[in-house]
């Protein structure tokens, strides 16, 4: 599982690549939290899921967990580019009501 972060213009971009499951999430959870803490002054964070080839319900827990952390710093969170299966999971679990989906064409990474 790969996690790439980049900060520019008040936006923390978090790009995820690979398969998110209960096993692989442990490492990216820690690294995402480190990035959030290092950019606690950001205006918003965008999670790019275009490179995620597999995700089960672990992804819901991961995103909601990061959302809660970001909210403590007053940072808004967004999701971009989920594949159809991830989109189905995120829709049925109501994740988008907390972390809206955006079409962010800009390549921040």
């Amino acid at each position: 599982m790969k996690l790439i972060t980049r900060f520019s213009d008040g936006t923390l971009a978090v790009k995820l690549e690979g398969e998110i499951d209960e096993h692989s999430v442990i490492d990216i959870r820690r690294r995402a939290d480190e990035a959030i803490e290092a950019h606690a002054f950001a205006d918003r964070a965008i999670f790019y899921l275009g490179g995620v080839s597999f995700m089960d319900s672990t992804g819901i827990g991961f995103l909601i967990g990061r959302y809660k952390k970001l909210r403590r710093f007053g940072i808004r969170a967004y999701i971009s580019g989920p594949d159809p299966t991830a989109d189905k999971i995120l829709t049925m679990s109501g994740v988008y009501t907390l972390i809206p989906k955006i079409n962010d064409e800009e390549d921040r990474l």
């Binding site: 398969e19 499951d21 209960e22 096993h23 692989s24 959870r29 597999f54 995700m55 089960d56 319900s57 672990t58 819901i60 827990g61 991961f62 909601i64 967990g65 594949d83 159809p84 299966t85 189905k88 999971i89 049925m92 679990s93």
Partner: protein
């Protein structure tokens, strides 16, 4: 012709990817679409994760096993018989762990016994949504078995 496979895995997290990929590979002769394959992998991942995280409480003994059985059969008659190459896959995921206190509760969306671990409580809901058939049997101290089935090769999707 019917086809059958059975595998036994140590109940450890690094086997989750292996389990879902193997079941997906077993289903390939039924000509699944990419979406069907993705649904299958997600449902199996949820079931195996439950065994590891809940049944064996993330601390497996050497003897803690997850047993996965799959059977495929082609559509021979009925409304789906025209789908050449398609068929149905039956999957059974079994553990010999702690069992579920209240299956009815466990099936409710967002119900989780491990909220502090960022568990979503959506595992069974996803299995039910992504598969056509679903049933769970559990006995305290004996273990849990999840039965799932799915029609494969139905849609005009992109072939995997």
């Amino acid at each position: 012709m019917k086809n059958y496979m059975r595998m036994e895995l140590s109940a450890i997290g690094s086997n989750e990817g292996f389990a879902r990929s193997t079941v997906a590979a077993f289903a390939l002769p039924l000509n699944p679409s990419l979406a069907e394959l993705s649904d299958l992998k997600t449902a199996v991942s949820e079931a195996v994760t439950n065994c590891i995280v809940h049944a064996y409480a993330s601390s497996p003994a050497e003897s803690s096993l997850v047993v996965i059985e799959c059977e495929t059969e082609p559509f021979l008659e009925g409304e789906d018989a025209g789908n050449e190459g398609g068929g149905i896959i039956h999957i059974r995921v079994r553990d010999y762990g702690c069992g579920i206190d209240d299956v009815g509760k466990a099936l409710q969306p967002f119900y989780t016994t491990k909220e502090d671990e960022e568990r979503s409580g959506m595992g069974f809901t996803i299995m039910q949504t992504f598969m056509d058939g679903f049933k769970v049997e559990s006995e305290k101290g004996v273990g849990t078995t999840v039965f799932m089935s799915k029609k494969i090769g139905l849609k005009d999707g992109v072939d995997a």
